[in-house]
């Protein structure tokens, strides 16, 4: 009985991050990396993996230290913990995935100031148990991944007329491949796609109007 109840709570925290409070589409958090790295599917996958790693590790560390961290200096402590994991991540990417490291550029380092991560640390991990924080991190991380993949799929298909994952082309669209709408992989396309997606979700009633 107790186990079943606990399981439901973990599932609730997990699903909450993916749909009900999707960090990108519903809370409009972490927009800077979302717009910048979604010009191709590869970048979106690399960035999501990085964010999930940092979110998970920092949530685990912060929630297991939540009783030791003094209330007044909690934000600097959170930032140092997050920055440490971002440094680890950027060294790993530099060593094992150099092309991805190059194309993500400064946005990999900017995971430090991603509002999603600091937000989860402050609102959740600093108050709840380690296991709940893990499911919360996975939920928010997968919600972020989902948003990034939807946006980058649209932008890459419209902008290049084809879809490729790490060098292998999956398919080509008939007319678009000869005449791609390049604007979608340029900066204006990012604003346009997110604006239209937000409007679509409101129109469908997934998101309530302000």
């Amino acid at each position: 009985m107790q186990n079943e109840k606990n399981g439901n709570r973990f599932l609730k925290e997990f699903v909450k991050g993916i749909i009900i409070s999707n960090p990108v589409f519903i809370l409009a958090l972490g927009l800077c990396p979302t717009l910048a790295v979604t010009s191709s599917l590869d970048n979106a996958i690399g960035m999501s993996a990085g964010v999930i790693f940092v979110l998970l590790c920092s949530n685990i560390i912060i929630s297991s230290m939540r009783k030791i961290i003094p209330e007044t200096v909690r934000i600097p402590v959170f930032i140092v913990v997050i920055a440490t994991f971002v440094t680890i991540l950027s060294l790993v990417f530099q060593a094992y995935f150099p092309p991805l490291y190059e194309s993500l550029g400064i946005y990999l380092a900017l995971i430090v100031v991603n509002c999603i991560i600091l937000g989860r640390a402050e609102a959740f991990a600093s108050k709840k148990s380690v296991l709940l924080s893990i499911s919360d991190a996975l939920g928010a991380g997968i919600g972020f991944t989902l948003a990034l993949i939807i946006i980058s799929l649209l932008r890459e298909m419209l902008g290049t007329g084809s879809l490729s994952v790490f060098g292998s082309i999956l398919f080509k669209l008939p007319v678009l491949f000869e005449n791609p709408m390049v604007i979608f992989i340029l900066p204006p396309g990012a604003f346009l796609v997110i604006g239209l997606l937000l409007a679509l979700f409101r129109w469908l009633g997934v998101v309530k109007n302000e």
Binding site: C32, T87, I106, L110, V113, L118, P188, G195, L198
Partner: protein, 191 residues
């Protein structure tokens, strides 16, 4: 001199922080509803960017490079920026209360503003000297302020316009930004 000028122009309009690098979007969409707020926010960001670019490029060139620990720049930069913002806030509060009232509430927000950390990381990546970093920070700050002012002018009109219900608020702001970014793409022909 021409080198400095080209850094300034590239950072201000061609690689505009908001419209082509997507940095500082939170204040861009959050604060750009009123013209006066936009100017204060732009000024606060430019000030913090200048100070933090100066100190981080001194640290980068004289501490991190000689000791071969460039990879530590993320942790060090964020700590430097966070403490600088605190110092700037305290100094302004003690010396100029009118300025504090105008900028005060925006200063703490700037700590986690990706534009400030972003510009210091760009300076390190490009290998700019201290003077070049200052110029690039000034250019980026002015470019940021410019776009914030343009956007707030448009949004004051948008508030009263009649657009579809599901487009109101954030979605239409994004589409406006898309059109602005399209206009700013024209600057890339300058260099």
């Amino acid at each position: 001199m021409s080198n400095l000028l080209s850094i300034f122009i590239v950072m201000a309009v061609i690689n505009n922080l908001v419209l082509s690098k997507f940095l500082g979007l939170c204040p861009f969409f959050g604060v750009s509803k009123k013209l006066s707020n936009a100017i204060s926010m732009g000024a606060a960001v430019t000030l913090v960017m200048l100070i933090s670019s100066l100190s981080t490029s001194v640290i980068y060139n004289y501490i991190l490079i000689p000791f071969n620990i460039e990879f530590m720049n993320i942790i060090i930069y964020i700590l430097v920026i966070a403490s600088l913002v605190q110092i700037v806030e305290l100094t302004i509060r003690r010396t100029n209360i009118a300025l504090y009232n105008a900028l005060g509430i925006y200063l703490p927000l700037i700590t986690t503003n990706c534009a400030v950390l972003g510009i210091t990381l760009i300076n390190a990546r490009e290998g700019y000297s201290i003077i070049e970093s200052m110029v690039s920070a000034l250019g980026a700050g002015i470019g940021f302020t410019l776009v914030l002012i343009i956007m707030s002018g448009i949004r004051e009109k948008l508030e009263v316009s009649d657009c579809p219900k599901s487009m109101r608020g954030l979605p239409i702001a994004f589409i406006t930004a898309a059109l602005l970014a399209l206009a700013f793409l024209g600057f890339s022909g300058m260099m």
